[in-house]
């Protein structure tokens, strides 16, 4: 009897064992190790790795590049997410009202999202070539510009990449908001229409309030994704020209695998982690609350 009860108590833990093993050895331990590395002068060129306390953090935070990288990251994330949300919202509102073509439009609008990031990057960098790219040719054909625009040059690159990333990432917003819109009971909208509400007011007073929880959750997820997004920038510009498109993940990666300064890179990674923790702490608190109930 006692053995049986003991067994019943250990069963749930047995099921958790494999996942715990992976999470502890490959997520928790590396995280602690990252902290350890960040407190040492850890360069691949030098065999000694002395403990230097918070010097790595100090040198990262006082670095001239750091402020630039932070600024770029904020622009990249804030404007990127705002654009994704706006376009996602407009397309969701549009598709939600189409009865017949809903399925086709949904597949079409989801396409960029499933496209491999590397392919998106090379496809657009081919189209945006300044001398033979099709985008410049089209713009000149319609007389929208009379010279070749250097899309990935230092003053344009960040904005170009934000737009390309919007092209790739807005479908997620579209999908989430469309799902939310389909949950709204039809009679509410019908009633409002009978009362003479115009389209804009229906959207503003019924649809958007209904979508608010969804907007919050999607906002947090896409902010984290956009902030951490690496593929597009790495493949197209590697953070250049002259750090014009260096965001946190790009700069952190370069510190480690181009300048081989593991200590500084680890410090930078921890700073990003804290930043992300701050951004999503309200969301995590809400999630935990819903689980406890």
């Amino acid at each position: 009897m006692i053995r049986k009860r003991l067994f019943r108590k250990t069963v749930p833990y047995l099921y958790l064992m494999p996942s715990l093993l992976i999470i502890v050895s490959l997520l928790a331990y590396p995280l602690v190790y990252n902290l350890y590395v960040s407190l040492h002068r850890w360069r691949l060129s030098r065999p000694d790795k002395p403990f230097i306390g918070l010097d790595n953090f100090k040198s990262v935070l006082t670095d001239d590049v750091f402020m630039g990288v932070m600024g770029t990251t904020i622009l990249w994330t804030v404007i990127g997410v705002a654009l994704q949300m706006t376009i996602g919202m407009l397309s969701a509102l549009y598709v939600d009202e189409r009865r017949r073509s809903k399925g086709v439009l949904r597949s079409l609008l989801l396409l960029p999202w499933v496209l491999p990031g590397v392919v998106t990057a090379l496809m657009w960098s081919w189209m945006l070539q300044s001398d033979m790219g099709i985008v410049n040719v089209i713009l000149q054909f319609f007389h929208l510009t009379d010279h070749d625009i250097s899309w990935l040059g230092s003053d344009m690159a960040l904005w170009t990449l934000i737009l390309v990333n919007t092209w790739k990432a807005f479908p997620f917003w579209f999908l989430m908001l469309l799902a939310g819109l389909q949950d709204i009971p039809n009679d509410q909208i019908e009633a409002a229409k009978i009362d003479g509400a115009r389209w804009f007011n229906v959207v503003r007073y019924i649809k958007i309030p209904h979508l608010m929880p969804m907007i919050g959750a999607t906002g947090v997820i896409t902010t984290i994704w956009t902030l951490n997004y690496f593929d597009l920038i790495w493949v197209t510009t590697k953070g250049g020209p002259v750090d014009a498109t260096s965001t946190l993940p790009i700069y952190t990666y370069r510190l480690a695998f181009e300048f081989f300064d593991f200590g500084k890179s680890s410090a930078m990674a921890l700073i990003s982690l804290v930043l992300i923790g701050v951004i999503c702490s309200p969301y995590m608190r809400a999630m935990l609350k819903s689980i406890r109930e």
Binding site: K9, V11, P12, Y13, Y15, P18, S19, I22, I23, L26, L27, P30, L31, Y33, N34, V37, S91, S101, L105, L108, L109, L111, P112, V114, L115, P116, V118, L122, S125, M132, I134, V137, W167, L175, M176, A179, P213, A217, I224, N228, F230, D231, W234, V235, L248, P249, T252, Y253, A256, A269, L270, S272, L273, I276, G277, C280, M284, M287, I291, R292
Partner: protein, 274 residues
Amino acid sequence: MRGIRLGSHLLLMAFIAIIILFPLYWLLVTSLKNNAEIFATPPTLFSKQFSWDHYSSVFRTSAIPTYFYNSIVIAVVTIAVVLSVASLAAYSMTRYKFKGKLTYFTIILFAQVMPLTTLIVPLYIMWGKFQMLNSYTSIILSYCAILLPMAIWLLTGYFKGVPKDIDEAATIDGCSSLGILFRMVLPLARSGLVAVGLTVCITVWQEIMISMTFVSSDAMRTLPAGINTFITRSGIQWGPLNASGIVTTLPVLLIFIVFQKALVKGLTAGATKG
């Protein structure tokens, strides 16, 4: 009035179609042009004569087939490991009460938002110490670790949807705890498994940071990392590059077309319930 509305809808749809499809079309057309036509000014909108040269050079003289094979092996094994490990965990989370459940869930939630950059350096040092860089094992295990929290979180939602009465009925019929998982819960939560599997597949298929850092030998490279090395070589060969882009995209595109409903359901399920 009706005509105008219909017309503007058609116009809007055409606009959406062009914005989404033209880049893909341009990728395809470029891959089918010969070199002279690729660099022609002004560029031709359709390729005048189809040439499969870039594809044959991609398949015969480049390492793309090897990369392709590596990507498939890594994706398949990762999906299998993630699904089985996450199923066990999610089963435990939804069917048992135990101490530490909330702590476990907090860890799962936290792990999902951890940026990859906090893991890349320590993992690189770790795999280096074990002499496991340039191996399937290190890449697959790293992917499993990153994707597991998301999988457990999503599957927990799906398993919650399987009614508990079924468990009791099965227990009375003499079904063991593992038996319930395999015979009852998993078949009933099939759409969840498909959705999670697809998400894992799409993520692994396009991941570059881990694959380009942990792999330096050509024999072990995956598709995205392989194409990426194409682009940095002196003088970009746009023809083969576009052809390998198509080769990389096709499998994902096919999977997307076949499993679209499951994917959409899986992506939106968590959010609409929460």
